[in-house]
């Protein structure tokens, strides 16, 4: 159509009301009293951020010595959207029934998953959403899976205690929730856990999964986990991942060709021979770590 505008993905820019206008809204506070100079300082900051056609919507006195600004402007920056590659959890999304069936057929014993909200973090709602029977957003929790042996340790669980429990329960997967993030406490706690697990020789024996509202998959990888789940995760998302990853480690990677690349290189996980008895089935290489 004449006059019509199309997005240029090689030079992607924010959209206000016309393609490529680059319009964005910004709000911040400067620790100076509102004044023409403060206004100028705010505009200069916006300029340094790469904004053109800066429109200062308001300068408000937020308190003595604090000026608050709302600014609209047009960013110069563009992004080559066609070049963006994001590391993603590649597991195929399956239903509870499918997952149960796969475990029954291909593994033949219950997978043991142990979860907790660690450190001094007392937020249980997230980990409960994943574990509890009733689940989250209409998706049943892991405790409801016939072929999962799901243990939710609750919140305020110290890393050491979690690892002990994981060993005792012979966990196949460890699921960690982190909600409080001030001063990056979540990152510290997560790294500490995988570090301790490394020292105890547990890293390769279990699947490490992190979750929480500020957790992303890349962040989880950075902390030594194998997968990270964020806002809005459903239990079946996690279960889908765990079962696929488990099979991949067993060499049954045939479930899905494009499974996620393991972060820690291609170290092949131990093989297990599926057994009928659920009680005794375990990863053969697993030993009590203490």
């Amino acid at each position: 159509m004449a006059g019509e505008t199309r997005v240029n993905l090689k030079k992607l820019k924010p959209y206000g009301d016309i393609m490529d206008d680059g319009t964005i809204q910004v709000c911040f506070t400067l620790p100076v009293e509102p004044s023409p100079e403060a206004r100028e300082a705010a505009i200069m900051i916006a300029q340094k951020m790469g904004l053109d056609q800066i429109k200062l919507a308001t300068m408000e006195k937020a308190a003595d010595g604090f000026a608050l600004f709302v600014i609209y402007g047009n960013v110069r920056h563009t992004i080559d959207f066609t070049q963006i590659k994001v590391v993603k959890i590649e597991a195929k999304k399956r239903s509870r029934e499918e997952i149960d069936q796969i475990i029954a057929e291909k593994i033949g014993r219950k997978l043991v998953v142990v979860g907790a909200c660690t450190g001094y973090d007392a937020h249980t709602v997230g980990i409960d959403a994943i574990f509890n029977m009733k689940g989250f957003a209409g998706d049943y929790g892991l405790e409801r899976y016939q072929w999962l042996d799901a243990h939710n340790l609750g919140a305020q669980v110290l890393n050491g205690d979690l690892l002990e429990k994981a060993i005792a329960l012979k966990a196949d997967a460890v699921l960690v929730s982190k909600v409080v993030t001030q001063h990056n406490i979540h990152v510290k706690d997560l790294k500490d856990l995988t570090h301790k697990a490394d020292q105890m020789g547990l890293r390769e024996k279990m699947i490490w999964v992190a979750g929480g509202p500020r957790v992303t998959h890349p962040l989880a990888l950075e902390c030594g986990f194998e997968a990270g789940f964020g806002v809005g995760t459903k239990p079946s998302d996690v279960a889908s991942y765990i079962v696929e990853e488990f099979l991949k480690r067993q060499g049954q990677g045939d479930l899905k060709a494009t499974a996620a690349a393991r972060p820690k290189g291609g170290k092949v996980p131990v093989k297990i021979s599926p057994k009928k008895s659920k009680k005794t089935a375990k990863l053969p290489s697993r030993k009590k770590a203490r």
Partner: protein, 521 residues
């Protein structure tokens, strides 16, 4: 719906006063025509092309009418000459329109067929035009039926979500309109470019440059209607389209809007006078003809009383709005609009820092609902007190949405957090719709679940405003509408009878004035 227990005899009295106020104006209307009425008449019978004037597309109707007017021959009505031309030249209206506009044919120089024949042919052409409009209306109604349109003029299904687009470029407008519909908007208004209302012609074709809005053109109407039809089908909801039928071309916009199946038109008996400084007589005569077309096409009008509260304080002048609504209602009835087509406008424009301001706003909105129970009331958002603090502005809109749903308004024009800044960005509109959806759903039945205390703040305020309205209408009746407007009856604006733009486009009709539309609309 909660009840304010208003004195119905006072309301009846107001309607009676409005009737008396309109009387002298009706005489004026019956004895005059304007260049705009004549242009619209030509458009209705099929003259919608444009000629090149100085590199720009200039409507044929303007070329034709200007020439007739400069010869002083327009007071017989354009059809008097034009239909004769069609007969003489055996041309369609469109063909003759182009030829005359290009001055290849001079209508005044043609031989004249017998008056009866011209009259009869004129009548036939007008009947055809009417049939076309009815077909367009039926087409629109069938689309609505197909999509199980839930619009209820009395607002019983909750307020309709109405947003504006205003990029200046019709194609960008389409993007924004679709996005708005996806987010939940029920109606899209394409705001007109600044000052289009002062143009004494309707621009031609698709347009991509406008200031503060996009030009209203027949092609732009068509493009947007087509886009909304498609989007509506995809979404399974009928999406309404709105434009502005005010200013020097209100008659023509009414005609084009009717042809292009618009649903809503901003159309007010006095807005042009007060806010665009258009001549009083011109406006009042034009509004009547525009409304005749609108009534036929069963388009819902939106009157512009909300604007009063942008120039006059909303707390002090609530009665001006109500008085004007009674007058608008009267003029609309005179043009055969039924109650369910009268989208009387008002607005939530009181100082947000006034103590108990929500109570006063509830009183105003609720009384509007109760006084015009069958009208699809159009409720406009806060604009005047909107400020650069977009977070605060967003809250003002939330409270506006709350008042709207509690008092059962029919059409809710959603406010924008960035009202004080710019015409809305896509994201502004999105969050505004989210705002309305949230409030309308959460307070769905609140209005039906509460009662207003007798003699409470809300009921007393409504009583006061009604009393003030009676007084204002009485004084307008006494002075006459023209003089009252001069004395700032509305919006703190003064206009004189002879002042304003477009006065020279008004003509007293000759005794043999010919325009069958006045009979059949």
């Amino acid at each position: 719906m909660a009840q304010l227990r208003l004195d119905s005899s006072k309301i009846d009295h107001c309607r009676q006063l409005a009737r008396e106020i309109s009387k002298p104006v009706e005489e004026l209307i019956d004895t005059h025509t304007t260049i705009a009425i004549e242009r619209a008449t030509l458009r209705l019978i099929g003259v919608n092309g444009a000629v090149n004037r100085g590199g720009q597309a200039f409507p044929e109707v303007n070329a034709i009418i200007e020439d007739l007017q400069s010869e002083g021959t327009l007071s017989k009505g354009v059809l008097y000459w034009f239909v004769n031309g069609m007969i003489q030249k055996k041309m369609t209206a469109a063909e003759l329109g182009t030829a005359v506009a290009l001055r290849k044919i001079n209508l005044l120089k043609l031989p004249r067929s017998p008056d009866e024949q011209v009259k009869k042919e004129a009548r036939r052409l007008c009947d055809e035009a009417k049939k076309f409009l009815i077909r367009q209306r039926e087409h629109r109604d069938s689309l609505r039926a197909e999509l199980k349109d839930r619009f209820d003029p009395e607002g019983k299904n909750g307020p309709l979500l109405y947003v504006i687009v205003a990029t200046g470029n019709i194609y960008d407008d389409v993007i924004q309109a679709k996005a708005a519909a996806q987010a939940g908007a029920d109606a899209i208004a394409v705001i007109r470019s600044t000052a289009q209302s002062l143009l004494d012609y309707v621009p031609h074709g698709a347009t991509t440059v406008g200031f503060g809005g996009t030009y209203a053109t027949q092609e732009n109407f068509r493009i947007m209607r087509e886009a909304l039809d498609a989007e509506g089908k995809r979404l399974g909801r009928y999406i309404r389209l709105t434009n502005y039928c005010s200013g020097l071309c209100m008659t023509e916009i009414a005609a084009l809007g009717a042809m292009e199946r618009l649903d809503f038109l901003l159309n007010d008996a006095m807005y042009g006078i007060l806010f665009r400084d258009i001549n009083m007589k011109r406006t009042l005569i034009d509004q009547h003809f525009s409304r005749l077309i609108i009534a036929l096409s069963r388009i819902v009008i939106h009157t512009g009383e909300d604007n009063y509260l942008t120039t006059a304080d909303a707390i002090e002048n609530g009665h001006q709005v109500l008085a004007s609504q009674f007058i608008n209602e009267r003029f609309a009835s005179n043009a055969h609009l039924t109650d369910d087509l009268m989208g009387l406008g008002h607005a939530q424009e009181m100082n947000p820092e006034h103590p108990n301001v929500f109570l006063l706003e509830i009183a105003r909105a609720q009384m509007t609902r109760e006084i015009f129970p069958r009208a699809p009331i159009k409720f406009m958002p806060p604009t005047r007190y909107k400020c650069g603090d977009i977070f605060y502005s967003h809250l003002m809109d939330a409270m506006f949405n709350l008042v709207g749903v509690v008092t059962g308004q029919t059409i809710q024009l959603l406010g924008m957090a960035t009202e004080a800044m710019h015409t809305p960005l896509l994201q502004d509109r999105w969050m505004s719709i989210k705002n309305a959806v949230y409030i309308f759903n959460g307070a769905k039945d609140l209005g039906r679940d509460i009662e207003y205390k007798k003699d409470g703040i809300i009921c007393s305020w409504a009583d006061k405003v009604l009393d003030d309205t009676v007084r204002l209408l009485e004084s307008i009746r006494t002075q006459g509408l023209f003089r009252a407007i001069e004395k700032k009856a509305f919006a703190e604006v003064s206009r004189t009878e002879t002042g304003g733009k477009g006065a020279d486009g008004v003509m007293r009709r000759d005794s043999d004035y010919l325009n069958p539309f006045f009979e059949i609309l």
